[in-house]
Amino acid sequence: MINKVRYVVSGLLLVFVFCQTASAEWGEWVLNTSLEGGFEDNINFAIDKNGRLSDIAISPSIVFGRYYQLGDYTRLRIVADLKAKAYKRYDGLDSLSSGVDVAVTHKFGLGQEVPWLRVHSFAGYLAVNESLRNSWLYNGGVAFGKRFSERFDMLLSYDFIYRNGSNNKNVAEGFLGNPFDQVGHKGTLSLSYLLTERLLASLSYSVYSGDITSTNEHNDMLKLANFTKALVWDETFKRHLWTYKLNALSNEFTIGLSYALNGHTSVNVSYIRVDGYTSDLHYYDNLVLTSIKYTF
């Protein structure tokens, strides 16, 4: 019942966005679509090397909505964000997420190289095939952008991330809380450089401080109790595993190349390396993603 209510609320939000955008007379449409496929070598963020599980996934997404010019240099962006993800091996992770993102961007003057500042907030719902992972997602942040030349631009951002796990089943005896109730802070520096007329190289570094979940095989419950208060047994990976919450500091490096097929479409490939550290433990994850993106 609760899930139905949440879907209705999400649907209403989408209808609200659509109605707002359809009646705008002087705004600008936003329509971004993407089809992404990729390989990840540690989808369960396992700390134990032998417990690492890998899979490939495909993920179509669409972002649609509208820009509204609030003034000559300030614009409001309201979009609906829909994303699906399907895994080849572990279909328990297949998911559908939807949400609404509202952002206000202000450009500090006239010209390409004038910096801009954006404040945004996102609210959405993540529905996963294995409902244990269903969650409400909230995100708010600020981003600062500056172009240094026609070839080179920079983005600096901070995001506050809040995830509210909506399914409290499978909580292990003696443990309180849901490992999918998470709070985190993420700072990112992204640089893009145009190599040729069509080829854009990107480099990004993010640092995340906050909660993560890790799924592992463990028999010693007492040992687990030493470093987590939130623990559930989890059959998402087609075996009996434990998923628990850890407080971690993660470094994320991304390197990407993007080839423009035309003014609206690009083919992209990127590699992402994530290294997470808790007080005693270390986990890492490698992702290779390819995508085709279209912007209206």
């Binding site: 962006r77 631009d153 145009l194 069509r198 854009l200 993007s258």
Partner: protein
């Protein structure tokens, strides 16, 4: 009878062999690799220094279609008024920070015709941009002669009906290198066949802000 013969001779002289005789000046522009160059502007400046002033009523247009300026290069004579219609269904914010003409047309809605007129009263190059869509860029080349033409996709430009006389002929392109041989000091336009003035120029590799989405989703002012 003598008067008639005299009139015929005078008319013949004026129409075919005299000062008022007009020819076309045809130019082809290639780059150093032999590729035809589009958007080059050919200007012919009379060596006599006598230049007809622009009619203030001259109005030309730079439109915006699919978030792109049409055309990429617009040559005009000093004193010309350009209008900036907007054929898109969204607002644009056109500006120039160039010395030859600094101006700004803040966010304005779609509209056709003689809208947002701007008069260009100094020679030089004006670089146009849109403050909303960073990839939008175009050039206005303001010249002091009424004799100019822009090359097409085949690299060809024709200055029509240019009066007989001696001219300094120049080529300009937004990406031309200074080292290019861009001037022909004396080109004589005379009766008979059309005159040719071809150029081989060096172009700089200039990259503009990319419009397509990047791998990180950024790249342009969001």
């Amino acid at each position: 009878m003598k008067r008639l013969a005299f009139t015929v001779v005078i008319l013949y002289y004026l129409l075919l062999g005299g000062v008022g005789y007009c020819q076309d000046l045809i130019s082809e522009v290639k780059d150093n690799d032999g590729n035809m160059v589009e958007y080059a502007v050919i200007t012919a400046i009379p060596r006599s220094g006598e230049v007809k002033k622009a009619d203030k009523e001259i109005i030309s247009v730079i439109d915006q279609v699919d978030k792109t300026f049409i055309d990429f290069v617009t040559p005009i004579m000093v004193g010309t008024t350009l209008s900036f219609p907007n054929s898109d269904k969204i607002r644009h914010h056109v500006y120039s920070l160039s010395e030859a003409k600094k101006f700004e047309i803040p966010l304005y809605p779609p509209g056709k015709g003689k809208v947002n007129p701007v008069t260009f009263d100094k020679p030089g190059v004006v670089v146009l941009g849109c403050n909303i869509h960073d990839w939008m860029k175009a050039y206005i080349y303001i010249v002091e002669t009424p004799f100019f033409a822009k090359t097409d996709k085949g690299g060809k430009a024709i200055i029509k009906n240019i009066p007989a006389g001696e001219y300094k002929v120049e080529v300009w392109h937004p990406h031309i290198k200074k080292s290019s041989a861009s001037v022909k000091e004396t080109v004589v336009i005379s009766k008979g066949s059309d005159m040719k003035a071809d150029f081989a120029i060096e172009l700089k590799k200039v990259l503009s802000v990319r419009r397509a989405p990047g791998s990180l989703g950024g790249g342009v002012y969001p």
